[in-house]
């Protein structure tokens, strides 16, 4: 299994080079946010106000980490289910967000925005939260501290393991992977 090491923030060229199914190791700064933070960001955009964080060319990780125990930058920090951010994600891509990390299906609006603006949806392994947290070197709260685990953090990650679930052309591992499996099984049974 070949693994690509990706430096964040991603350039448009890197975005274009990634294909659904690629295994990657992410390096550099990422933002975090879940539904509550997304709701606030989009409310600000609706009012025409400036956001408290820069999202252009950034990658956002859908996560609400467990509290850090002594000696750790962050507690267990696996991905949360992404569809809850679907209502907000296209707005952020419109202003330049080019990476999302989560788990689970996305709707057509999100995939169309990914194709239109050039963005990647990465998957981290749901539940592998203690393992993922080992690749988070530092964590700081950027804004919305009142949201606790749901605040927007900046993580700096080193060799964060992920898979390209949906690429900027809209190719989707959640469709390709299971379909390929079923085709292989059907071929085996046919023999």
């Amino acid at each position: 299994m070949s693994i690509k090491r990706i430096q964040l923030p991603m350039t448009a060229e890197v975005v274009r080079s990634l294909k659904a199914g690629d295994s990657v190791l992410l390096n550099g700064p990422i933002l975090t946010g879940r539904d509550a933070a997304h709701k606030r960001l989009v409310a600000l955009l609706d009012e025409g106000k400036e956001l408290p964080v820069e999202v252009k060319d950034q990658t956002i990780y859908y996560v609400g980490p467990a509290p850090a125990s002594p000696g750790h930058a962050v507690g267990s920090a696996g991905p949360t289910t992404s569809y809850r951010m679907d209502a907000y994600a296209p707005r952020l891509m419109e202003i330049g967000l080019n990476g999302m990390i989560g788990k689970g299906k996305r709707n057509d609006d999100v995939i169309n925005a990914m194709k239109k603006y050039g963005a990647i949806y990465f998957g981290a392994v749901g539940g592998a939260a203690a393992l993922v947290s080992r690749s988070i070197e530092s964590a700081e709260v950027l804004c919305y501290e009142d949201l606790g685990a749901e605040a927007i953090h900046r993580f700096v990650v080193k060799d964060f393991p992920a898979v390209v679930l949906i690429d900027a052309e809209g190719n989707n591992m959640y469709e390709i992977g299971p379909a390929q499996f079923r085709a292989e099984q059907a071929a085996k049974e046919g023999k």
Partner: protein, 281 residues
Amino acid sequence: MREIQAVEIQKAIEQLIYEASYVISPDIAKAVDEGIEKETNPTSRNVLEQIAENYKIASCERVAICQDTGMAVVFIDIGQDVHIAGGNLEDAINEGVRVAYRDGYLRKSVVGEPLFDRVNTKDNTPAVIHTRIVPGEQIHILVTPKGFGSENMSRIKMFPPAAGVEGVKQFIIEAVKEAGPNPCPPVIVGVGIGGTFEIAAQTAKRMTARAVGSHNADPRYAALEEELLTEINKLGVGPAGIGGYTTALAVNIDFRPTHIASLPCAVNMCCHCARHAETTI
């Protein structure tokens, strides 16, 4: 009559939450290891390897297996010859939850009101408590901290009896298929058949904590469990939903008496971090 101090229950709850949150039960770890052997696609196999490695890190370092440390669901069976002294039961359980989520570095994921304010209670209380009064003078406690990535993919349907075995089968398979990658497969599928609306759901929840590899004592239900597991693993959803053999680790079914007019079926989806721990006082 045996007297049990409320604080003993509180401490038991605290310890069970630590145990469940940090250490996966061996039957689940074994099933994931078996999945690694089976997967041929390297990316799918790597997902299971990450899951297995994660179990090891969490138990060695005593950190949460998953950051969604869930709502604390507590099944407590109280012997009718027990007298709980020095406090009341619900307070003792909630205090155990409060201390465990604070001192155990577990995420607080409960909002006090679901629709308007959604303000976090900041201590993961209240627990969800299912109490039964049973014969004897012991207390049995089962704690199943439940994450909501999989909880949100759960389904219930009040079938007419004519839907029969086939209707129930299709409903369960469809629930896993539709959920796809969202509940963090490989999943454990808890199924409750019969009862009333709420009993079907509660039975399904209990089934998420039954050991992988165990079967219903009724051979017809045991056969149904096997058949459904095989069918679900033909869907190809696979580890993390990216395709493969290992979509579910178990389908655990239990049944309850029901009304002549109904065939309730509840499917409670649980991720591979199916956390549970139990003790008897």
